[in-house]
Symmetry: none
């Protein structure tokens, strides 16, 4: 491995992916909306190279991203991004590659969902596109209410036992569904999921903070966070409407709900909050509001990694600065942010029973 890469990696903090022994960088790179779509070929490789040089060795994909083209764009072995790996002396084992199964790439009643058939066939097709023998983690991209949980857990355990993946996780599952999966895995001696890929940001907290709270505590469940910038909203770029060429402008259909919300009273209140946070970021932390937003998510010990999107290397480099910011988030600053937002989910109810000593555990 070149010294440059090694050096950079020393600056990248690593955390365990939930209850697993896998160490993931606190920032990782996702192919959503970009790879195989607006970003392909040489620009894609530039972003990947920038990521690797800065210690981001984890790449998140899904069979569904640009209908498989995103996975194919990433393809490290033996071609596509392979040249970069050789230049940087990176091997397969140095990388963490994850993908997600659910929507498939083609129509047809069994080309999607979490049947045993699609979990196995979908992952095999992903591996062909990614040109690797295995992914490090395969996620169930959503829960499938029409498949018994035992079948889902067994199928993910099977692909792990076949060596097609090392771990599996969930994405946007309800806490109850994760509970069922873990209990069934324990009961049947199967592999339990280790992490949830979920949305989490200053403006989206209920599920990741409150609904999942007991999963962190009981099972050490991990999280790979997406939309930590709330679809770009937390960069401040929508403070004055939707500029041309932005994600909301390019993908109006995908983001209709959020775009419509901008106009509502709640949307306007949130814009005001973003402005306050921008001021706090600049004055107290000498950083952008986007860097603050990422740092705030990293400050939560239940965050395993934030999956960054990027259309240009500079974007990635800018977001990387969040690593320097989050250790500076003192409890004083955290309290001020809380005061600006006023959206902290309540603690679990104890119904008037005497509280336990807060200095115990």
């Amino acid at each position: 491995m070149s010294e440059g890469l090694e050096y950079q990696q020393k600056n990248m903090p690593f955390r365990r992916l939930g209850s697993s022994g896998l160490r993931v960088p606190v920032l990782s790179l996702g192919g959503w909306l970009t790879f195989g779509g607006t970003v392909t070929s040489d620009p894609a490789k530039e972003i990947i190279k920038t990521a690797l040089e800065n210690g981001i060795n984890m790449f998140d994909e899904a069979e569904e991203y640009n209908k498989g083209k995103s996975e194919a764009e990433l393809r490290f072995f033996p071609e596509s991004s392979g040249r970069i790996l050789r230049e940087l002396n990176v091997r397969r084992g140095d990388l963490i590659i994850t993908t997600k199964i659910f929507w498939g790439t083609r129509p047809g009643p069994n080309n999607g969902g979490l049947s045993r058939k699609h979990i196995i066939e979908g992952l095999r097709e992903s591996l062909v596109r990614l040109q690797t023998d295995y992914v490090d983690v395969v996620f169930a991209h959503r829960a499938d209410v029409h498949v018994p949980m035992l079948e889902v857990v067994r199928a993910f355990s099977w692909v792990i036992d076949q060596g097609l993946a090392y771990y599996w996780g969930t994405s946007e599952w309800a806490a109850q569904q994760i509970e069922e999966a873990i209990q069934i895995a324990t009961q049947y001696g199967l592999h339990a999921p280790v992490a949830e890929q979920c949305q989490y940001s200053l403006l989206h907290r209920e599920r990741p903070e409150a609904e999942y709270a007991s999963l962190y505590k009981k099972y050490g469940y991990g999280t790979t966070i997406f939309s930590a910038l709330y679809f770009g909203f937390l960069t401040g770029k929508y403070n004055d409407g939707i500029p041309a060429g932005t994600r909301f402008d390019n993908h109006k259909d995908n983001f209709r709900t959020i775009i419509e919300k901008l106009e509502t009273e709640e949307g306007q209140r949130q814009i005001a909050q973003v402005k306050e946070l921008t001021s706090l970021a600049q004055k107290e932390l000498d950083c952008t509001v986007a860097q603050l937003a990422l740092a705030w998510v990293l400050r939560n010990p239940n965050t395993s990694t934030i999956i960054l999107g990027a259309t240009r290397p500079e974007q990635l480099l800018s977001n990387l600065k969040a690593i320097e910011v989050y250790p500076k988030l003192t409890s004083g600053i955290m309290d001020r942010i809380e005061k600006i937002l006023g959206n902290k989910p309540p603690e679990p109810a104890t119904y008037g029973r005497p509280q336990l000593d807060p200095l115990g555990r």
Copy 2:
């Protein structure tokens, strides 16, 4: 319950006993060396009354303490200390009564140890002496290397299933033995032990802090601490030798090892440390070194309760002040104590492997 008692109990912090749902007061009262021996009859009842009035509703006994007389002294129902309970309007359910089985009260090869025979017979005899149908927690007073762990776990599970106890725990077991007990309980669907009764103090840290570390983390194992004042050493009363009438003077045989240590270089260094701690306690926390020593043990979230001994009500009242002290132990003060002691056990070895982000979990 009288309002007075109720009021006092509001000042007593409660913690869960390890992985159990039982809430224990952070300070409890033990019968070791006192009840049934030097302290009997009315003086004993005065101490019990003082304890109850101050929110200490947990009483720790053992079949072996004064060969059963300590349990008999405590006896709340229907006689002995019963009058106090009536006066204070305390019922059995308001109390947490624990005992410990191992040494028995009579000679004979099966009148002790952790065979199924003695666990069942020993506990039954304790219940007769205590005049109660059940204890809240029964501890294995030591490990018994001559009994297979499955037999031990099964026997304690059996007494719980019979209603003779609600929980069981261990006392001065090696971490390996606790690990085996918990794993076997899990495997066989039996009751796992929930807490360890161990020695822990400023001057005795290796086992409770380092050896048990993974048990706290993996199983939420609890601790009921004894000798938090290191056999009185941390009160400063042995700073200038052994005064007449103290425990070391009265029970020379029991404490020979510690008494002899007083003379050694290490003993002299510890006396110097006690003096430094005394000064810190007075100047910074306006308390005695004994109160600091108790507060320091309470500051560890892995402490469930400290078992206090007392020969006079005033002693108990003095120790109760530790409850006001431990919330004042800031990280700054904890660092200064660490510097005085220099006996912090090392973290578990990671053998040069990259460290995890300390702000993760």
Copy 3:
């Protein structure tokens, strides 16, 4: 197999590797510090040939030894040491090849430790270097406190089920960790580890004799011993300081702790003991102190094999004589050694309970 080799092997005693059915020679050859480092090419092959001719058919490696070069040096198939095997008519099945996974050969947060990822990837890379489809035993070179034990046990079970190894073991694990691994394996129907690779010698006894005692008894756990000569100390060559060209001289950093100990009171007492043992070895057993030290370790029935290091064939031949010595270690001589050392770890505590008949079991 040539008759010569067959004949020699008849003189080599074999023992079961712990609870496994694998028969290991009581002496084996390790690549630590030598192969791929100071000893390469023809000299390495000469040592290997000498080992094989004398019945040592077990070779211990680790991914970490000389960063993979030690494994590559050993490489029997189809090249490197292959000629020797052909000459001696030795096939893969005639050999026992072991390796150890933990430190990896490259930096990077997942290129080491005991995550599922590194256990699988690390062993695969070792097999490539060793040019064999499987090792007989793969050891976890250390415990990894950041990986749940279930993940570790499952990953080692998986490589066994894939045919990449026949058995797995531990190295320098705490008894509690081995206990947890065995219990979890039992509970989940996975492969339990069969042996521990640990340090054991006349001067290092606490862990292998006392801490592991119950593992031998309950599980028949085996041991593959390293540093049976206490880093050369027990050859007597450091009796008068550190001669040039010795291991302590060549690898000052690795052995700093021991080198510094030489100067201490304890170090000086141990040198005096080595001198007494030297005299006993010469007068009573007509052997060197090194041969006595090895024989003493072999006299312990819980020793499965001693891993010898060697930089010259003569060294190996000299050490082989320990096989003739250990059957001569009568209880009388063992008592005299015990008296010289005075370092026998205490028996497990029974806390004053009546002892069992020593003539029973």
Copy 4:
């Protein structure tokens, strides 16, 4: 407890009953053929008193012995032998009381055997006769080929879980049957049997030494030995035919096989052996051949206890001397006995495979 009893007990060696934690005296007292039959009332109590005074606190019964009268004769609580217990200050917990279920006390197809019905009903009737709430160990007096093993194991587990017994064992079962019971118990999380009550003596060795060998090794199975004097034959009293008033004379039907054997060539050879052993006992060990015969059985570490019969206190006292003899049975004397007998069962076959190092394990 009176000092006398306590003192005597210090001279009685105790062993674990097989894999259990129960400590049994190496000599115990059985009610077979005597209690409730030829020995009743005051003479019975004299024998019991002598036993207790000499550290024999274990009493072996069976529902079938004299059709229940033997159990009723023993009856310690609250009547019958109760006076002795009070005199000696012995409580129920100080005693080990065992019984055996199989033949029942009345005719009828379900008044015997090992159906769930008879195990439960038979034991309950025994407890009534014995006037105790539980026995320490309940044995299956024979195997019942008409009851599935799962039913047998479940029924014995059930009586243990009900508190009617602490442990269960087998009597004169084939090794295969014990194997099946232990495996089923492990598989279903039930109580496994801990010991076998079997015949074992200088003249009856095949089953206890060879057939059960792997049960001792794998499961630590225990043995409670009967007929250690080969039905009195090893006292020498039948050397010159059957004297009037002896057991063979009184119970001709029970012992027909053995009586007839006396006349055969083998019988005559055994008488010659008894004479040789008598000479060895007198000259080398200053004891009787009966004491030697008992000592020889105790010398086997797989013996947990020998159940003695007695019709007079003097007989018991004479047999007790075996405790002083067995530690004197050196390997030299054991070899001479082996040479006299020539009946050592062969080691398990290894079919020409290389042997393991005898100094390993």
